[in-house]
Symmetry: C2
Subunit: 365 residues, 2 copies
């Protein structure tokens, strides 16, 4: 396909390798693999996971659970604390598939208990230090009370404890990632030890892409749920989690103008294509993407003095080192490695694979 | 309609009033009004403009031009410097409607001249100080050369000079906005004076929402193209451009969890709903939205000690003053005034009006 506007290019070979690696790692470590599908949001890419042996998944919303259920996924965890107004719709889905939901407070559980009409698995969401959501692991009086309530509910089945060690993303070194991961392991192991006698089937579920990619120890863990690893991105690269050659997505953008007077190049590709997530560049400024140009048949990744440094609705502004300006002229197509592949994919709504195939995502978030 | 998940609520009455006010202002100032439709991206809201007397529009991409052309808009300016790879598709549209495109360099014009097959209007994009894109107003040798080339092209018609005073968005006071606007006027008037003899029909087109909302002087200007004013948002409010009661959109989000230990509330509503655009709050931290809660029948806008302060993919984290925490409990619906209505609308893809009507946007960017 001829590319004429911002297009999300997906290297199928790399994505398949990323999937294969994580499947193998989970197998080797005897962990159930329940990948998070919020990164790719695509039924077709879901099939790549299925072919690799995956049969249960994680999603981040009921909308997404409904979408994947339509495509034959029948064992789904919605890794988002139960949204009370949606319980009637949760019932509709729970009647059709094996569904797990999350609770983290009395109110959510009480609403579930009152309104649920089908057998539903329940994970208790534990905060292992990310401090976004979940119950602090040491609030065992509250946890005891919640489990007692679950036990009394014939339609609710306690599955275990689920955590997202999202603070690995704020790490300054891979050492930090290991430390945060081990800290989470300790906390979850303590919980497992406390409740395993009463609930011998208890599942400990965790797994962000940084720790699942880097760490080899998962003592006490039963299930991992990474999502971003299927594509990786510049944020993961900056964290030391992947190599640049592991990143499966690139944005292809047309060059619109070259402004040598301020060492800038304007591309067609803005906030509605990339999202406004950024990382900090070596010059201390926000970086929205790194640049790959074509030099004849060769692709060259430019160094960090060249980067996507500003985004408005459809315009992207590249800062370009004077010596590299000659690589750019209006009408050229360049490639940008995105900072956060999940948010970029969510905006683009479709992929063009390196095999020239269009892959659609769920049309609506 | 019962709201169960993040929903973009549109107050139709306010939007109609915003449209009406800008239509009247353009009339009073004898300016052609060519509103930018990239903010609402909706055929139905387009009809509200048509009923107010609007018959020509601005869009930011060929995709958007094609969408609105389908709904009967036949006089469209694509306010984005010509994207060379799309010229064959520009031809398809130019054959059906009155289309204007932008050029800002020799390459873009040469490609147009070579490939264009239908009569097309051409604006020269002028940079009046925003420094994003366009030709600096004083590079008259380049401008002379471009106009000469246009004159030789039987299918290209020179329409005039177009500018976007986007640096009004970086203003620290309304005084700054006036200054930047007047500076742009001076530059464009100088250009008009220089070229009006040879091109008596020359059009000067400008107009961002801040200057079109605040300023009353548009000497030398023939056409304005604001877009955001239809909804306004927190960024415009912070700039002093609108009142809070002029903002026509709000996100309705369910409360998922309350964490008194860190004065935080978790909502269902994240980066995939709001976008990650932010302004700086009074505490120096990024603010992604301000909060309105319901107290019985009354709606209360909480002060700036309460705000949407972090976003991950689907989660939003509110910072809440201890005294106000009691307003929140899981399952409640709260309203958030978004920072940047264009990017929020672009993500949400539909509106729920205060008259309980669903309004769709263009499905694809």
């Amino acid at each position: 396909m001829e590319i004429t506007r911002p297009t999300l290019l997906l290297n199928k070979e790399i994505a398949l390798r990323n999937i294969e690696n994580m499947v193998r790692k989970a197998e080797n470590l005897h962990l159930n693999f329940r990948p998070h599908f919020k990164t790719h949001q695509s039924a077709e890419i879901g099939e790549w996971f299925r072919h690799a042996g995956v049969n249960c998944i994680t999603v981040s919303s009921l909308t997404m659970a409904n979408y994947f259920a339509e495509f034959g996924w029948d064992d789904i965890t919605i890794a988002f604390s139960v949204n009370i107004p949606e319980i009637p719709e949760i019932n509709e889905l729970a009647g059709r598939i094996k569904l797990n939901v999350l609770i983290e407070n009395r109110e959510g559980l009480a609403a579930l208990q009152e309104q649920i009409t089908w057998h539903t698995g329940v994970f208790v969401k534990i905060d292992t230090g990310y401090n976004r959501t979940g119950i602090e692991f040491n609030r065992v009086t509250l946890i005891d009370e919640l489990l007692e309530t679950i036990q009394k509910s014939p339609l609710l089945e306690f599955k275990g404890f689920l955590s997202h060690t999202g603070h690995t993303y704020q790490s300054n070194s891979t050492h930090d990632i290991f430390n945060r991961h081990f800290d989470a392991l300790l906390k979850l192991k303590a919980l497992k030890a406390r409740y395993q006698n009463d609930w011998p089937e208890i599942i400990i579920s965790l797994g962000d892409t940084p720790s699942c990619s880097l760490c080899e120890k998962f003592d006490g863990v039963d299930e991992i749920r990474p999502g971003n690893f299927v594509f990786y991105d510049l944020m993961q690269f900056k964290l030391g989690v992947c190599k640049l050659t592991d990143i499966a997505v690139r944005m292809v953008c047309p060059v619109v103008a070259v402004h040598p007077s301020r060492n800038e190049v304007v591309i067609y590709g803005g906030a509605v294509h990339f999202s406004k997530d950024s990382i900090v560049n070596i010059d201390g400024k926000p970086l929205f993407g790194r640049i790959i140009i074509a030099d004849g048949d060769k692709k060259i990744l430019l160094d960090e003095k060249n980067y996507l440094h500003a985004l408005s609705q459809e315009h992207g502004i590249l800062k370009i080192a004077p010596r590299d300006l000659s690589y750019f002229k209006p009408g050229d197509l360049i490639e940008i490695i995105p900072v956060h592949s999940c948010l970029t994919a969510n905006l683009m709504k479709e992929y063009l694979t390196t095999e020239d195939e269009i892959i659609k995502m769920m049309p609506f978030y």
